[in-house]
Subunit: 272 residues, 2 copies
Amino acid sequence: MAGSPPAWIINFGNELLIGRIVNTNGAWLARELTLAGFDVRRIIVAPDEEPDAVEVLREAGRRARVVVCTGGLGPTPDDRTAEFLAKATGRRLVLNDEALRMVREKYASMGMELTEDRVKMAYLPEGAKPIPNPVGTAPGIHLVVGDTHYFCLPGVPREMEAMFKEYVRRVLATIAKPPCLFEASVIVEGVPESSLAPVIKRVAKSRPECYVKSHPKGDELRSPVLDVRILCHHDDCGVAERLAREAAEEIARDAEGMGGRVAGLRVERLRD
Amino acid sequence: MAGSPPAWIINFGNELLIGRIVNTNGAWLARELTLAGFDVRRIIVAPDEEPDAVEVLREAGRRARVVVCTGGLGPTPDDRTAEFLAKATGRRLVLNDEALRMVREKYASMGMELTEDRVKMAYLPEGAKPIPNPVGTAPGIHLVVGDTHYFCLPGVPREMEAMFKEYVRRVLATIAKPPCLFEASVIVEGVPESSLAPVIKRVAKSRPECYVKSHPKGDELRSPVLDVRILCHHDDCGVAERLAREAAEEIARDAEGMGGRVAGLRVERLRD
């Protein structure tokens, strides 16, 4: 939400850039960061190559208080996120003892040796902390540069989510205060979006704690259906809920006054 | 693919930034642009606000041959993409006669008047062409600045896809030549990703027309399962298919040599 510390999300991966997979990691992280009290300003899919990856990481560090990136931490040669982050922040890439211990223990437990490709996963930017990976083998990276926290996590959703929940959330709680978030949805039938526009404008203007947006679901001209979403945040949950409900009821009333039909109105708290 | 004209995708929308919806428009456009012969370098979700939206559009124009953006074209007050694009490209925002005709005809056909909020949809950057919207009411925007083509489309997937297919594709065909794309997938069980890494490295290095990437699906240590994807492009479809198949077979052979089991190998042409 506006006014909260800015966060950027960067998802590396060629499979995303060619449209073979949808960026569900980006959406998952965006929701988590919003609930944790951050204002997500970018979700960027970028190639895991120079100069693009380095540029994006550097720009994110200049603009955001928290940067979460995914992908490129594994043992294969194109897993180069640690190297890119080192370049973006002007750090050396060094063998991190704690990360090496994590990687060694993982493979030792299965009677496997430390090959060059496995040791690679323990090279982090100087000063970074490895983030334990309870699911897979590659540690994540937590690097603080000035006021900015970088968190780099694997691209495999199961690993990424576990590491976020067990490590990242705890650090985020020291930076931002989670607000109470309530979302209302009003389904309006029979009123074109362009007719409801002045109502949306008025309702939004009078409630700076709320974001109001109409989503056309039907045919604007023949059978208009709008899903109007109102997202309100406040430290006080009672106030957040009231703001969302009153905005929704005001829109519903005005839509009915225009001859529309309200097919649904609900208010729900957003939380994990 | 590398060497092809660069394309950037920008998706505006608060619902994306708070993680309420997954960016399926981004993935759909990424696939379309790849198939049309472009090298997608970014998929960016950004706020539909200043200065962010203007900065992102400007940067995209500096870096890409084609910029496709979605969202913010409708009649509500926060639909401001035309205004942002005008600012990013140093154009004035002007009432476009052709766009006004499109909007007027849409509403006239339903016996509706042109309100201020409806006329707003006909304001485009000076020199832009409106893109017909066969599904909804808001025209899209096609603006050429130097070598760069900007295409702005609605965020509603049904409208966005129809306008892309009927208008954008035709323009793209004048800029890039669609390559033949073949993708192979090899499912390998029982070999950790870190053990297969040297094979991946060798196979990728010997085939510059191919992008090779392993995706861990199981547990790297206890029951590793890898989906190795090989994407090859070539003007000649026969060559593209052969490159993908041979790379897949080489990986399968080496994985079996390491005691792994190949649970699947398929090669398919990517096309619409």
